[in-house]
Symmetry: C2
Subunit: 161 residues, 2 copies
């Protein structure tokens, strides 16, 4: 076993946030799309931690903390944009959203989610994709999208019960 992933061990998280925002700025300007104040703020909130965040949690912060008049569509439109740009992923089994580690590379995330600390660990280019494609080949199935969400206990939470 290698060193545990960043998401589930202490680290300077403000660095994660600022890096994610900087990457987003770059990516959007390269793509010629607009990272508006709202979208940027939603991305920042999603990156507040490595734990998937619900749309209505985001909504609550925008309303109560930012004092913005926000309704569900406000949040979902921003999230749709971020999803399209590959800046966040949606966790179907949690109805929640989490920042993407590697927005530069087109991909669909594979996640290991700790049921205790709620950290979502995103895998990069794992062998899982390969075995999914292998199975698909056998079935003659053309893969267009995949949802891989594994729940359990992360290394940290196993150590400290």
């Amino acid at each position: 076993m290698t060193t545990p992933p960043l998401a589930c061990r202490p680290h300077d998280h403000s660095h994660c946030i600022s890096q994610a925002l900087a990457e987003a700025e770059n990516l959007c300007s390269r793509q010629g799309v607009r990272l508006t104040a709202l979208r940027r703020r939603v991305l920042e909130l999603v990156w507040q931690s490595h734990r998937p965040l619900g749309a209505y949690d985001i909504l609550a912060v925008l309303s109560e903390q930012d004092g913005r008049r926000a309704a569900p569509p406000t949040v979902y439109r921003a999230l749709d944009f971020l999803l399209e740009q590959g800046l966040v992923h949606r966790i179907a089994s949690l109805n929640a959203f989490v920042g993407c580690n590697r927005p530069d590379r087109a991909h669909q995330g594979q996640f290991f989610i700790c049921r205790q600390c709620h950290a979502a660990i995103e895998l990069e280019g794992s062998a899982i994709s390969e075995s999914i494609l292998d199975s698909a080949r056998e079935l003659g199935f053309r893969v267009e999208g995949q949802t891989v969400e594994v729940v359990g206990l992360c290394a940290n939470c196993q150590a400290a019960p």
Copy 2:
């Protein structure tokens, strides 16, 4: 490529249904739990096709067709029971439920879902689980549950656009 799976080619589906119900009877009596009329009916509805079915679709049939006075908890309780017994699976990405092919073996399903005909093809003991466990080992992650849902086009729907 082998012959396409049952779920996405024509077949005598009434046989699927009756077999699923018979297996359910067996399994429940072995487990000492009760497959009541309601639970049996919900299982039958879920097996009406190989396409995942929403809880509210089931509710509509119970109300309108069966003339039963049913509310959401009625359906969800039956579904919870069937999930616990491993008789159905939940498809998180669709908020829907589908019958399990192999209720005799404890497992969590891996699904290939056709976006056109909506068939859900369940894999049995694929290499996907292995590669998930491999990745988990590397992370020191203890796997407790997994959601694997691949969307795309099944062999049939690729052939006939």
